[in-house]
């Protein structure tokens, strides 16, 4: 029964969707203070390479490697964020674009560490490592009646799902807290925010570093799921792709980039004919969104309306219950 239900193909696609959701969240956080980064592919690469290198060369456990990858990317984010914060708008975007390219060129040339353009292969795979670990404890896939590759896919998917949900709830909660309000205020009007007592430098660096950290985290996960990375995985095109998740889905609320990542990743998988024109469609999406709906498909207003609708509904049900009670009473 279980064996027939679990298909590694669908789980694989879902796993990539989840990674893209994490990437979408990473750009969303940076954008939530009104900063546009074209360097997220660079942060993703730093996370991926750091984790791959420490797990292969120093035999660190996977979880340590992944966390280290995220942290190194986050620290780089602070390093890049602090000085570039003096830059506004397009200047920041261009500076981060430059950063991303420098990182890629570094991966290519620092052969001793990164093996250059050939890339790093045989990176420990999350699922395979786990299954090996489980086997040592005496648990194998046959015990629940599935094949080991099914178990691997399920484990990878579940881990990613849990991680993604944790991340989403982290940032949803942050959004609703004092920090999130500061982010939103800075995005809407920087000088007004500062006049209201918000230390904009601190919060902008915080957002930039959080974005970099999450991108690095996604990169590290990516490395341990494909088991192979090379510099060309973290090029300018990747940065644009990450940006599109937020531009398309919406950058005002976290549901936006999540929706964007789900839709845009599954689209070519569901419609193979679309695949041919994928990038042209991306281009059209960017232009059309800017012209007709610059805030993305899902925005504050939509969320607000949904909330009201639900409130009304709740109200209605309460009213109905009340009236029923009355009926019974009478």
């Amino acid at each position: 029964m279980l064996a027939e239900l679990i298909n590694p193909y669908y789980l694989q696609v879902l796993s990539f969707i989840l990674i893209n959701i994490i990437l979408g969240i990473s750009i969303y956080i940076t954008l939530s203070t009104g900063q546009l980064s074209l360097g997220h592919a660079g942060f993703m690469g730093i996370g991926a390479y750091t984790s791959a290198i420490v797990t292969i060369n120093y035999d660190l456990p996977l979880i340590v490697g992944i966390l280290l990858g995220a942290i190194v990317a986050g620290l780089t984010g602070i390093l890049i964020g602090l000085p570039t914060l003096r830059l506004q708008g397009v200047y920041l975007a261009i500076a981060t674009l430059g950063f991303g390219e420098v990182v890629r060129v570094l991966f290519i040339n620092w052969e001793g560490m990164t093996q250059g353009a050939v890339g790093i292969s045989s990176i420990p795979h999350i699922g395979r490592e786990l299954v090996t670990g489980l086997r040592d404890t005496g648990f194998t896939a046959d015990m629940i009646g599935i094949r080991s590759n099914q178990l691997i896919s399920v484990l990878v998917f579940l881990i990613l799902l849990v991680v993604t949900i944790l991340l989403i709830s982290f940032f949803v909660r942050q959004h609703r807290s004092r920090v999130g309000r500061a982010f939103a205020a800075i995005k809407m009007d920087e000088s007004a925010a500062e006049a209201m007592g918000i230390n904009i430098t601190y919060y902008k660096v915080l957002a930039f570093a959080q974005g970099a950290l999450v991108a690095g985290f996604a990169g590290a996960l990516y490395a341990h799921i494909t088991a192979y990375i090379s510099p060309s995985d973290f090029s300018y095109h990747r940065a644009v792709e990450i940006l599109i998740f937020a531009v398309f889905g919406g950058s005002e609320v976290i549901a936006g980039p999540i929706f964007g990542a789900i839709f845009l990743t599954s689209m070519p998988e569901l419609l193979r004919d679309v695949s041919e024109y994928r990038y042209m469609i991306y281009g059209v999406i960017l232009v059309a969104m800017m012209a007709f709906r610059p805030q993305g498909l899902i925005d504050y207003n939509m969320i607000h309306k949904l909330k009201r609708l639900r409130k009304k509904k709740d109200q209605k049900t309460i009213d109905e219950k009340e009236s029923k009670r009355h009926d019974i009473g009478s």
């Binding site: 570039t84 003096r86 708008g89 397009v90 960017l286 232009v287 610059p294």
Partner: protein
């Protein structure tokens, strides 16, 4: 050898400078970075391939076709990607950047479909012409590129400072609203700017095809990023900055090959971007942003 390398650097630098002129013009007037400029440049180059190689027609015609096609692309860029965003409430200043990135991706992949991913040859007998001075060979193409770069810079400076249309354009650059109050047809001026910038890109495309015999859909991205680096280096909106910045980048890319690590050649431009933005954000020839504009 150093002399030859100097010539190589100047040739490359001149091309960079021409590409950067297009960026700087659009930024100067509209305050927008046109991320699609590199792809328009690439289309100019492909027009050269189509005319000289596929249709076997003369080189002069290639320039004409490239100018016509890139002018059209500029027009579409303005009408589709830029005008709808202008003056709209709630549109951030990043919107045009994202929108032109969209155009650039679209054009790059359109070129893939039309022309294939491979390299296209660009055969003209003109590119074989050369003069021998001592042990140094100078190609006619190199001289032409250098001449066109200088010519474009001088005529653009002249046009901007001396002609009526140019003055109107500068008025737009100073303040769009004020210019429109003074009776300048800003819509027309903006369109003119974008078209002129695109045409300059198209000309650069044909020149690159002539000089290096190498035209691919990917060339727009790498050239575009270099052009971007140059206007940041030279100062956004500065014609002189674009020229000097272009030459500096061309020469330093050549020199890094001469003296050492050709592997880091591509990184120079981006390292330059980061350093200049941190040390002197207005660039070498740019005006510092006054406090009052905050």
């Amino acid at each position: 050898m150093l002399l030859e390398q100097l010539i190589n650097g100047l040739t490359l630098g001149s091309i960079y400078a021409i590409v950067a002129l297009g960026y700087t013009l659009v930024f100067g007037v509209l305050g927008i970075i046109n991320m699609a400029h590199g792809e328009i440049f690439m289309f100019g180059a492909f027009m050269g391939v189509v005319v000289t190689h596929t249709l076997q027609l003369p080189l002069a015609l290639a320039f004409l076709v490239a100018i016509a096609v890139t002018a059209m692309l500029g027009l579409f860029l303005e009408l589709i990607a830029l005008r709808p965003l202008r003056g709209k409430k709630g549109v951030s200043h990043l919107a045009p950047l994202i929108s032109t990135i969209g155009v650039s991706i679209f054009l790059e992949n359109l070129a893939h479909h039309f022309f294939g991913a491979g390299n296209r040859p660009f055969n003209t007998s003109f590119s074989q012409l050369s003069i021998q001075i001592g042990s140094v060979t100078i190609y006619a193409v190199q001289l032409v590129i250098f001449a066109i770069a200088i010519l474009l810079m001088i005529s653009l400076s002249f046009w901007l400072s001396k002609t009526k249309a140019g003055k109107a354009l500068r008025a737009c650059a100073e303040n769009l609203e004020a210019a429109s109050l003074l009776g300048v047809n800003t819509k027309k001026m903006i369109m003119l700017t974008v078209i002129i910038a695109s045409v300059i890109g198209g000309i650069a495309g044909v020149l690159v095809g002539m000089a290096f015999n190498s035209v691919t859909p990917q060339m727009g991205l790498s050239m575009g990023l270099k052009g971007l680096a140059i206007i940041i280096l030279g100062g956004m909106g500065s014609v002189r900055g674009a020229m000097v910045g272009g030459l500096i980048l061309g020469l330093s890319e050549t020199m890094i090959v001469v003296f050492g690590e050709s592997g880091y050649r591509d990184a120079i431009a981006f390292i330059a971007i980061i350093i200049i933005l941190l040390v002197r954000p207005q660039g070498l020839f740019g005006q510092p942003v006054t406090e009052a504009r905050r």
